[in-house]
């Protein structure tokens, strides 16, 4: 048995948090799709053989193929407008959407003075960053 008032209150409390999170996710997804699509088009224009040459496909997708996987390589390639770097930037934006979602949730819970959830979500964020460090050290 649920009391109507409780449900309404939950609804109301949740709605602002939900709007903020949903808005962010949409923005992140939109930016990511745009960057990935632009990157793919740019590299196909720069390298006309990419799309139709089987040898190019092997080179691009076989183990040992080169693409940026450090931030400094990525920045350097972005500055020279390499398509593969633009795709990678789009992927990084997408990977960051759930992380930013957690950060936004902390802010939204704090605005609601919901301290238990601020602590809980804050702990999730710390653990996320910790697992990133542990993973990187492996």
């Amino acid at each position: 048995m649920i009391k109507e008032a409780t449900t309404d209150k939950l609804r109301e409390r949740g709605s602002r948090v939900e709007r903020v999170i949903a808005g962010w996710l949409r923005l992140g997804v939109f930016a990511s799709v745009t960057l990935i699509a632009i990157g793919f088009v740019v590299s196909s224009i720069h390298n006309p053989g990419y799309l139709t040459d089987p040898e190019a496909f092997r080179r691009l997708t076989a183990p040992g193929s080169f693409f940026p996987h450090t931030i400094s390589d990525l920045v350097a390639e972005l500055l020279s407008l390499r398509g593969r770097a633009i795709i990678t930037l789009g992927i990084i934006v997408l990977v960051l959407t759930p992380v930013v979602r957690v950060v936004l949730s902390i802010i939204a819970f704090a605005a609601d003075r919901d301290w238990i959830y601020v602590a809980m979500t804050g702990a999730v964020l710390v653990l996320l960053l910790a697992s990133f460090v542990v993973g990187a050290a492996h």
């Binding site: 949903a22 990157g39 959407t97 949730s105």
Partner: protein, 277 residues
């Protein structure tokens, strides 16, 4: 194979993975990895790297709509995410200490049990016993109207059990690289009393966070090839957006049935992996 052909093949396959994954609250790696390696001849490392990104795509692509329409239970998501991240970190430390073959068998048995329970309770909405922790954390929620007309308020119970399962799910994803959705959805639905659509949408929201934690590592190791990940990501995003729209139309009973079938497949696959290793 050419890049143009690969692009469309990978796009189609990952659209399917994103569609299924976003509705069932799973990552879809079980489709993406074999599709890339077996059908399209991609190296396993790059396939896993692309699959991690597609899990995030499946999560964020659908969650944008789900969250706006209040389908996931945000508080339950935060509460269980704490368990998952603790477990995943623990799992990373345990890796190398435990023989994975036993874990696969154990995991397979756990999934068989979940599948059997889900099969038995395919029609019923589970009513969870009252739970003071869930009251204190205000975990109770309501599935909005349109997803199981009319709006369906529910009370969450057995929150401690759910928390333990989410730790186990985190440990397994840290150790075996398997997303925890297959464990968390049955726990939320069958034990905690959350309606199936709210449970899968909550799981969908959570898997993005877990995958993002490991994606950084895959990126710095050079496992995320942009030309492979591009079509996989775009496909998964499109599929997830479509899945979130279809979620309104599908009957809860059919969703549960589809989930049960996937559970059986994953369970048998895990047992096979454990025994053959």
């Amino acid at each position: 194979m050419t890049l143009a052909l690969f692009f469309f093949a990978a796009l189609a396959l990952s659209t399917f993975a994103g569609l299924l994954g976003s509705m069932l609250g799973l990552g879809g790696g079980i489709i993406v990895v074999p599709a890339l390696t077996l059908l399209l001849g991609i190296d396993i490392r790059y396939a896993i790297g692309a699959s991690i990104v597609s899990v995030i795509a499946t999560s964020s692509g659908a969650a944008a709509r789900y969250v706006r329409e209040s389908v996931p239970n945000l508080r339950v998501a935060m509460f269980l995410e704490l368990g998952t991240t603790v477990g995943a970190l623990g799992g990373a430390f345990l890796a190398g200490l435990i023989a994975p073959q036993w874990l696969y068998v154990l995991f397979g048995l756990l999934l068989l049990f979940s599948a059997a329970t889900m099969w038995r309770k395919s029609d019923a909405n589970v009513v969870a016993p009252s739970d003071r922790l869930a009251d204190a954390l205000r975990l109770h929620g309501a599935l909005p109207s349109g997803y199981g007309a009319p709006a369906m308020p529910y009370r969450v119970g057995r929150s401690r059990f759910g928390f333990v399962i989410s730790i186990v799910a985190g440990v397994l994803s840290g150790l075996l690289g398997i997303g925890g959705g297959v464990l968390k959805v049955p726990a939320m639905n069958l034990a905690m009393g959350i309606p199936i659509k709210a449970a899968t949408a909550t799981s969908n929201l959570m898997i993005g966070v877990t995958a993002a934690a490991s994606a950084g590592v895959y990126f710095s190791r050079g496992d995320i090839d942009p030309f492979i990940a591009a079509p996989v990501t775009l496909g998964a995003l499109a599929g997830a957006a479509l899945g979130a729209v279809l979620m309104r139309r599908v009957a809860a009973k059919h969703l549960k049935l589809a989930f049960t079938v996937v559970l059986w497949i994953v369970a048998l696959e895990m047992m096979r992996k454990g025994i053959s290793q």
